[in-house]
């Protein structure tokens, strides 16, 4: 197996790449920047030496925060734990009173538990801890943990890795969407290349990025976003090639009513500038409960407090420059909005994915209107009650079939000779999904489009008869 340079060049880490650092099963996304200190699991180091190395290389941490590629043979072997005693509950020696086996601990790591959490597990599971007679096992484990603490593997990001990372590190940022639930969403929504997909999410961009990965740069994705602007930290972490971003469009939901009513004006005429100014101003507001909001506000306050008279002119200049900049930005936004609006106006999207902290029912009802008939949609919520409401509304309204409210149960296993068992801890819940397929809305139904409105008097008459 001689090195093939052409082949390998695709897999080399470059400066500017978005990568994922891995230790045990702890992940952290980071961009490769030379001479920049990164902190991972309470240790700091530089990624400079990773540049030029192959992805999936494991590095050892040397002093001064220097990474050194580990020899390939040095991979950890688990053979030393194979075939050990089944459990030690009835062993005489009280020192072995830790109910977690080493394998259990390894499995905990596999699950993505942090070292500290593992130590907590050890304490919780130690029969002697309460009696304070023995800590040697714990010390052993700490040693074992150290072994993991001086290595880091650099991975190419993927939907799998980022979904595992967010679920393990910051589940709150992704509405506690578990990786297997995300997997169900991508499949249930039939996400694939060359389609047109609507995404509404407040999952840090993880869901949007996963949809984009599955579309491979083919087709279009329209991100429907709430508040001041789309959140996409998670999308960046995927490290997509530049052309992937060409398929990505965005539309602020604060214009949705206008779009549906046909009153959204996206043409760049000066005459209508006032209207659009106000329209666009709405977008400038920071997201109601977003992370960035409060920080921004406090910064503005500080500037206000520290302003002096002599600096006023300078400030005015700056303001003018800012205003100009703002105008250019607004023009860009206007174009973007027009592009997204024209994609939506056909009401012929191929799929809809919703996963947010917002009440899903109004979101679903509004966005379903943009789908072609016979297309799948899927809504995620952390709370079953929200989806029960969606289900009920959809059944009342018609226009969908194959409605299914589900969740999934996920358990990992430790598979080792003579000590195979499910992992002792599992996720309590991965959230709920409502999925279904759109169908053509009956033309005679009142829920139809504007074209076929029945004359109002006739309809009233029917109501009267029924009443």
């Amino acid at each position: 197996m001689a090195d093939n340079v052409d082949d390998d060049s695709l897999y080399r880490i470059k400066e500017g790449d978005y990568v994922v650092m891995k230790r045990g099963d702890i992940f952290k996304a980071v961009q490769i920047q030379t001479k920049k200190k990164v902190i991972f699991e309470k240790q700091w180091f530089f990624l400079d030496n990773a540049v030029g190395q192959l992805y999936s290389t494991t590095f050892e941490l040397a002093s001064g925060g220097i990474l050194q590629p580990r020899k390939p043979k040095d991979t950890e072997s688990s053979t030393d734990t194979k075939g050990a005693g089944t459990d030690n509950r009835n062993i005489v020696d009280d020192g072995k009173s830790q109910k977690l086996t080493r394998d259990d601990i390894e499995t905990l790591k596999e699950q993505g538990l942090k070292g500290q959490e593992i130590i907590q597990q050890l304490v919780d599971n130690s029969s002697t801890f309460k009696d304070k007679t023995e800590y040697s096992q714990e010390k052993y484990i700490k040693k074992k943990k150290k072994k993991y603490e001086n290595v880091v593997t650099i991975l190419k990001p993927s939907c799998r890795i980022l979904a595992l990372m967010y679920h393990g590190r910051e589940p709150g940022k992704i509405c506690h969407l578990r990786y297997d639930t995300l997997a169900q969403m991508l499949t249930l929504a039939n996400i694939h290349a060359s389609s047109k997909v609507l995404v509404f999410e407040t999952c840090a961009g993880l869901v949007l990025g996963s949809v984009m990965e599955r579309m491979g740069g083919y087709g279009s994705v329209i991100q429907m976003f709430p508040g001041g602007g789309p959140v996409r930290a998670g999308v960046e972490s995927f490290g997509f090639p530049a052309h992937f971003h060409d398929m990505l469009h965005e539309f602020p939901i604060c214009h949705l009513n206008a779009l549906l009513a046909g009153t959204l004006d996206t043409a760049a005429k000066d005459s209508s500038a006032d209207l659009k100014e106000s329209d666009l101003a709405a977008e400038e507001k920071p997201e109601a409960e977003g992370q960035g909001g409060p920080e921004e506000q406090s910064m503005e306050t500080n500037i206000g407090d520290g302003s002096h008279d002599p600096k006023k002119e300078e400030e005015e200049k700056r303001r003018e420059a800012k205003a100009q900049e703002k105008k250019v930005k607004q023009e860009e936004k206007r174009k973007k909005l027009a592009a997204a609006a024209s994609l939506l106006e056909g009401r012929n999207a191929d799929g809809l994915v919703i996963a947010s902290r917002f009440d899903p029912c109004p979101v679903l009802m509004a966005l379903l209107k943009f789908l072609s008939p016979s297309r799948p949609f899927v809504v995620y919520s952390q709370y079953k009650e929200c989806l029960v409401e969606c289900y009920t509304k959809l059944r009342e309204q018609g226009g969908t079939v194959n409605l299914k409210l589900t969740d999934s149960w996920l358990r990992h296993y430790q598979v080792l000779p003579n000590r195979t068992h499910p992992v002792l801890l599992m996720s309590g819940g991965g959230g709920y999904l409502l999925s279904g397929t759109t169908v053509a809305v009956e033309l005679s139904k009142p829920a139809g489009s504007r074209k076929d409105e029945e004359p109002a008097p006739k309809r009233q008459k029917v109501t009267e008869t029924e009443g």
Partner: protein, 299 residues
């Protein structure tokens, strides 16, 4: 129509899914002049299907109506003719993500079986990927290829009729991912490794029995695979219902002065309240199989 690209309208030669009602569907090969019998009467393909939009409501000869749906791998999974045990969408979704499949991926699969997973793989790796699928059973391999042609995905797949444990996948050094659903997956691990790219990739083995999992994990470890991880995923369905909850009758309420502090509101006799809830089906799948994933490192 194709299983990897949506069309708006039904054309001659398409495969369409006729939706008859709750959890009742049937696949139909659309053919000029043909007709399909349903419990609601006859559907005439030339007039009722061809040229109509997917998702349309079609009125059958007896006056009943159906919806005609565009096929997707997920609809196919619940409607395909079973020639073997098949994989269902919950496992398929997990496999697709954990194997890191995406447009352009090259995948090896064995056995092909009834093609339930194959269609989902093809949907995900199109338009630039390729599936090499190996099926031991000749009749089955021929049948599934026929379906790939009908579903307009045959340009993305190579079907091989051979024994994967003896003869491997017929390719080497090309696969990003390998999937095994065979009785003795441990015998195919070396072939999986050989089929995969030098840089590495992901492998998955599906087995119903734990002994198969144990042997497979050992074989994966022996062949240098890393991040070996076995999991099980089960779908839980919640049926939305409104239930009527009878209120107990405690007899005539004593006057309020006697118990002004009672938190129990006066129950009305023989009344009941409506509660919106969900109930699980009486019986659900308790096991499909264990999914074992692993990473092939650079070799």
């Amino acid at each position: 129509m194709s299983f990897v690209e949506y069309s708006d309208c039904i054309r001659d030669g398409d495969v369409a899914i006729v939706y008859l009602g709750h959890e009742s569907m049937t696949p139909v090969k659309v053919k000029q002049g043909a007709q399909t019998q349903t419990r609601y009467g006859v559907i005439r393909h030339s007039t009722d299907l061809i040229g109509r939009r997917y998702g349309s409501k079609v009125t059958c000869s007896k006056g009943g109506w159906v919806y005609v749906l565009h096929p997707t791998p997920e609809l196919w999974t619940v409607n395909l003719p079973h020639r073997t045990q098949i994989l269902y969408t919950t496992d398929i979704a997990t496999i697709t993500m954990m194997l890191e499949l995406k447009p352009g991926s090259v995948v090896c699969e064995s056995g092909t079986g009834s093609g339930s997973l194959s269609h989902a793989i093809l949907r995900t790796i199109a338009p630039t990927g390729h599936l090499h699928t190996v099926e031991f059973h000749q009749q089955r391999s021929e049948k599934v290829l026929e379906e790939f042609v009908e579903h307009r995905v045959d340009h993305l797949v190579t079907v091989r009729n051979q024994d994967v444990c003896k003869d491997g996948f017929g390719v080497s050094g090309v696969a990003d991912a390998v999937f095994l659903d065979i009785p003795s997956p441990w015998e195919a691990i070396k072939h999986a490794k050989a089929a995969m790219k030098k840089h590495g990739g992901r492998v998955c083995s599906f087995s119903p029995c734990i002994e198969q999992v144990q042997k497979t994990c050992l074989a994966l470890s022996d062949h240098g695979f890393e991040e070996i991880n076995t999991l099980e995923v089960l779908l839980r369905v919640h049926d939305v219902r409104t239930i009527s909850l009878p209120q107990p009758d405690f007899g005539p309420e004593p006057s309020a002065q006697i118990q002004p502090d009672s938190t129990v509101k006066p129950p009305q006799k023989h009344t009941s309240i409506a509660v919106k809830t969900t109930t699980p089906p009486r019986e659900i799948p308790g096991h499909t199989g264990y999914l074992t994933f692993a990473t092939k490192p650079r070799t």
